[in-house]
C-alpha cells in the first residue's frame, strides 16, 4: 500500500451555451461537482477502494438534476428515459454495464452488480431492468427523472427536427 491516491470526475462535455452561465449558475454547477468529488475523495483518503470511490461519486452525479445521467437525464424519442452505465476494475479487468435501462435511480449501481454478481459484462433493455429488480435496486417513477431543462430541449428537438448530431445535451 502506498499513500498515493487521486480522483477525477466529469459531468459531460459539449456545447454548454456559455451565455447560460451567469456567475450564480457557474457556482451551482461547481458546488455540485465539488460535492461529488469530495464524496469519492473521502473514501480514498480513508484507504477505501477506487471502485467504491467511483460508485459513490457517480451516484452523487446521477442524483444531481444538472447532469445528463439518472435524475436530469435527457428524454428519448418516446418521452421516456433510457439510461446506460459502465464500471471497470483495473486490477482484474472485470467490468459491468447496462444499456437502455429505465426506471432505476442509479444505473451505475446496477452496472456494478452486473460486474460482481453475474458472469456477463453488458445487460440491456428489459433484461437489465429485470436483473436490477431481482437485485432489489431502488426504482423510480418517470417524474423522478424529469427536469424542465431536458423537457424543453426534447420539445425543441422534436419541433425543430434537429438531426441527432445537434449537441443539446453535452454528452
Amino acid at each position: 500500500m502506498n499513500d498515493q491516491f487521486a480522483i477525477a470526475i466529469h459531468g459531460g462535455a459539449g456545447t454548454l451555451h456559455r451565455e447560460r452561465f451567469s456567475p450564480d449558475v457557474v457556482q451551482q454547477y461547481e458546488k455540485a461537482l465539488r460535492q461529488a468529488l469530495q464524496a469519492g475523495l473521502h473514501i480514498l483518503q480513508n484507504g477505501g477502494r477506487s471502485l467504491d470511490a467511483l460508485e459513490t461519486a457517480v451516484r452523487e452525479l446521477e442524483e444531481c438534476p444538472f447532469f445528463n445521467a439518472g435524475r436530469g437525464a435527457v428524454f428519448n424519442a418516446d418521452g421516456g428515459h433510457s439510461l446506460d452505465a459502465a464500471i471497470m476494475d483495473g486490477r482484474t479487468l472485470a467490468a459491468g454495464a447496462v444499456a437502455g435501462i429505465s426506471g432505476f435511480k442509479s444505473p451505475i449501481q446496477v452496472a456494478r452488480a452486473v460486474m460482481e454478481k453475474t458472469r456477463y459484462v453488458l445487460l440491456s433493455g428489459q433484461g437489465a431492468a429485470d436483473f436490477a429488480r431481482d437485485q432489489g435496486f431502488e426504482e423510480a417513477a418517470a417524474d423522478y427523472f424529469y427536469t424542465d431543462l431536458r423537457y424543453h430541449q426534447w420539445k425543441k428537438k422534436q419541433e425543430n427536427e434537429l438531426d441527432e448530431s445537434a449537441d443539446l445535451n453535452f454528452g
Partner: protein, 133 residues
C-alpha cells in the same frame, strides 16, 4: 453523461460512466458509455478512462482502450496518449472530452468542445473544479 476515474492507496485503478444518452434518441440507440473500451476502460498497468461527447465517434475510435494501448505498447505518457486519442477523434469530427488517470496518479481532462464539467483531487489535497477553460 457523468463519469469518474480513481487510483486508490493499493494502486488500483477504476473507471465508471453513466448517462441518459442523446436527446430524442430512437430505436434503442446506445452510445459509448456502456461500451467497455470505448467510453469506459481501466487497467492497472496503464490507466483508467471515462469519456463524454458524440458517442458514435468514441465507439468508432475505441477511444478509452486506444489511450491504454498507446501507454502499454508505445510507452507514451498519459498526457501524450490522451492528446493523440483526441487528435484522432478530431480527425473524424468527433467532439467531446474525457478524464484519465494513470497508476502514478497523473490526471488528464482534455476536451475539444466548448466546455466540460470536470473536477479532480490529488493526494496533496489540491482540488481543481472547472467548466470552461
Amino acid at each position: 453523461t457523468v463519469g469518474a476515474v480513481a487510483l486508490d492507496k493499493n494502486g488500483n485503478l477504476a473507471a465508471a460512466t453513466s448517462t441518459g444518452g442523446l436527446t430524442n434518441k430512437r430505436y434503442g440507440r446506445v452510445g459509448d458509455s456502456p461500451i467497455i473500451g470505448s467510453g469506459t476502460y481501466a487497467n492497472n498497468n496503464t490507466c483508467a478512462v471515462s469519456c463524454t461527447g458524440d458517442g458514435e465517434h468514441f465507439i468508432r475510435s475505441v477511444v478509452a482502450y486506444d489511450i491504454s494501448c498507446l501507454i502499454e505498447y508505445k510507452q507514451l505518457t498519459l498526457r501524450d496518449a490522451c492528446a493523440f486519442a483526441m487528435q484522432r477523434l478530431q480527425k473524424i469530427d468527433g467532439t467531446g472530452g474525457l478524464i484519465a488517470i494513470d497508476r502514478w496518479g497523473n490526471i488528464q481532462m482534455p476536451y475539444n468542445s466548448e466546455g466540460m464539467y470536470r473536477a479532480c483531487a490529488y493526494t496533496s489535497g489540491e482540488i481543481e473544479i472547472k467548466i470552461f477553460e
